[in-house]
Symmetry: C2
Subunit: 339 residues, 2 copies
Amino acid sequence: MRTRAASSKPTIRDVAAEAGVSIATVSRALNGRAPIASETAKKVQAAVQALGFRANRTGRELRAGTSRTVGVLVPSLANPVFAESVAGIQDAAREAGWSVLIASSAYEAERENQAIEHLLSHRVGGLVLTVADADRSATLDGLDREGMPYVLVYNQPDRADRSSATIDNIAAGRDATRALIAAGRTRLAMVAGRFAASDRSKQRYRGFGEALAEAGLSQVALIELGFDAPEVDGPTRRLLTGPDRPTGLFCSTDLLALRVMALLREAGLRVPDDVAIVGFDGIPVGRLTAPSLATIAQPSHEMGRRAFLHLLARIEGAAPERILLPYELRPGGSLPPGR
Amino acid sequence: MRTRAASSKPTIRDVAAEAGVSIATVSRALNGRAPIASETAKKVQAAVQALGFRANRTGRELRAGTSRTVGVLVPSLANPVFAESVAGIQDAAREAGWSVLIASSAYEAERENQAIEHLLSHRVGGLVLTVADADRSATLDGLDREGMPYVLVYNQPDRADRSSATIDNIAAGRDATRALIAAGRTRLAMVAGRFAASDRSKQRYRGFGEALAEAGLSQVALIELGFDAPEVDGPTRRLLTGPDRPTGLFCSTDLLALRVMALLREAGLRVPDDVAIVGFDGIPVGRLTAPSLATIAQPSHEMGRRAFLHLLARIEGAAPERILLPYELRPGGSLPPGR
DNA sequence: TGACGAACTGAAAACGTTTACGACGACGCC
DNA sequence: GGCGTCGTCGTAAACGTTTTCAGTTCGTCA
C-alpha cells in the first residue's frame, strides 16, 4: 500500500486501499462487468465518494486500445451550417457517452491532412468529417488503408464504400431551380463559392443544369465568388448587376445568398422583383432578413446525429451506408410563389 | 523481440526492431529531447516511414500525466459568436500542438457540470469556457478546488482570481446606449435573452442604465425574450410595438437584434425611422441585412486565441489575469448617425 | 598515461486502467 | 462424502510511451 501526496488525484489504487479490496474489484464494481457482492459494491462507492475519485480515461483507453472519442473535421466553424452539424454530432455523442475531438481544415487540403493525422494520433474510435471532394480524396484513401471507420456529412459520394449522411444535392439543386422557373424567371445563373473546394457545389450545379434542360433553357451560367474574400471583383459584379443580368439566382450556400442580396441592394436592384433568389442550407438567420431567404433547408443537426450513430454501427462492424435525409424547399420573400 | 499482426498499428517497439535500436532511442529520436547520433536518427526516420508509425498519444499522456488537450465548454454552437471563439481557440491550439475537446451546456447548469466532469475525466490540461455566471458558479468552484486551470471567455468576472478574456461589457453597454441617445432617441429599452442565464447581459444592462442616468433619462425598461423559444408572447410584442413603444432598442445579442428587427417589420414599423437598434456581438451576417445592424463588435476569434494562450501560461504557473480586449461600435443602417 | 567529461545508447520502471487466470468457499447433486 | 458449479475476489500481466539510471565509447587535458 502506497501513500500519496494529498494534492495529486486519487487513483484506483487509493480507492482500493480505502475500501479494503483489490483494484480489480474496484474496476469491476465501477464498470459492472462482473458479479460483485452488494456489500463490496457499497464499500467501493463509499470510497469513491470519500476520495472524489474519477476514473482516468487515459489509462482505460491505453488498455482498451480505443477511445470512445470521435474525431470531427469540418471546413470551418464560422459557417453556421457546419457548427450546427457539429452540435448534432455532439448531442448524439454525449448520449452515447462519447467525447468529441474537433479540428477544422479551413478548406485547405494540407490542413485537412494534418488535422486527420492529429486526430488519428489520439486513437479516436472513428471520424465524422466533411471534405472537399469525397470521391477523390487522398485523406479518405488514407483512412481506408488504415481501416479507420468514418462517416461523411454534407458530402454525397458516388462510391458505395464510403459512408455518408446527407441530402440528395442533385435533386435539391433541381428543385431549387424549378422553383425559380415556376416563378417565371428564365435568365438564371448559379452562384457558388470556390467550386473546386466543394463536391456538393458541383452536384447542386448538376441539378441546376438538369432543371434548365428540362425547361428548355440553355443558359447555365456559373458565377464563382470565393468563400473568404469579402470583396467581389468588378467583372463578377457586372455579371450580376449589368444589363444582361440574371433574373433568378440559385446560390449554393445561404451565406453566399445573403452576400449576393446585399450586393444587389447596393446596386439598386430589388429582390425578388428584379432578381429572385434561392439559397441552400437553411441557416436560421435566413428567416430574419428582409426579404426572408427562400432556401433548400438541410436537416443539419439531424445529419450530424445520424452520422455519429452510423459511425457507431460501422465501428461495430456494420456495412457502409449512404444515408439520404429529406430536405425541404423553404419558401421566403426572396422568391415569388410559383404560378 | 515480438512479432505482431500486420493489421495492427505499429508501435514504438516495431520501429525499434526495424531500426535495430532500443525503444528509448526511438523515443529520443522522435522527440529530440536528447543527443542522438545523426546516423541513428536517420535509421529511425527510415523505420518510421517504412512502417507508417504514428506515436500513440494515449501512451504518452498516461506516462506524462497530462494531455496537451484543452477542454472547451460553450453554451451552444448554434450561436455564431460562440462558434467563432471556438475557432479562435482551435487555431491557437493547433499552432501550439494542442488538441481541442468540445462540449456544450445548452445554457443548463446541470449539463454544464456533467460536461465538465466528462472533460476532466480525460485529464485535459486545462479548460476554456463560458458559464452562466462567473462570480457564483458551482462549476468553477469545483475547478478551483481541484486546482484545474481555466480561462473564461465572454464572462467578465469581478473576482480577480478567475482568469478571463473578454471585453468591458459595462462600458460597451454604455457606449451602445449613448449612441442611441446621440441619435436623438429618448424612449429606450434593452432586450435580453434569459437574464438569469447570462452575467454578461446583466453587465450590459448596467452600462445601459448608467448611460440613461447620465443623460437624465429615467426609463430603464428591460424586455426579456428567451433564447430558445422562437415565438414572442403577446405582452412582449405589445411592449415593443404598442403606442408607448421605445424609439431605441439596445439588444444584448445580435441574434436577438435580428429577431426583433423581423418582429418590428412584421408589425409595420420601420428601422431605424420608428425604432433605432443597436446589437451586441458583431456577427458577420449583421453586415448583410437590410438595414445593416449597428452593433458592439467583439473580437471573438481573438478572444478565443488569447484565452487559450493565457491558459497555457496559467498551466505553466502564471497568475490569473483578466484580459480586456478592445471592442468597437460598428455603425450600421439600424442606427442613424449621431448629431 | 590516466582521469575525466561528453556523447550516445540500452534496460527497466512507471503512468492507471482492464482482464485472464486462478483460488477459495458455499452449495447442490449423485 | 466427493465432485462440479457458481459467485466472488485477488494477483499479475498488458496496453505504448517517456525518463531515470547506468553503462560504453570516445576525445581531451593535465
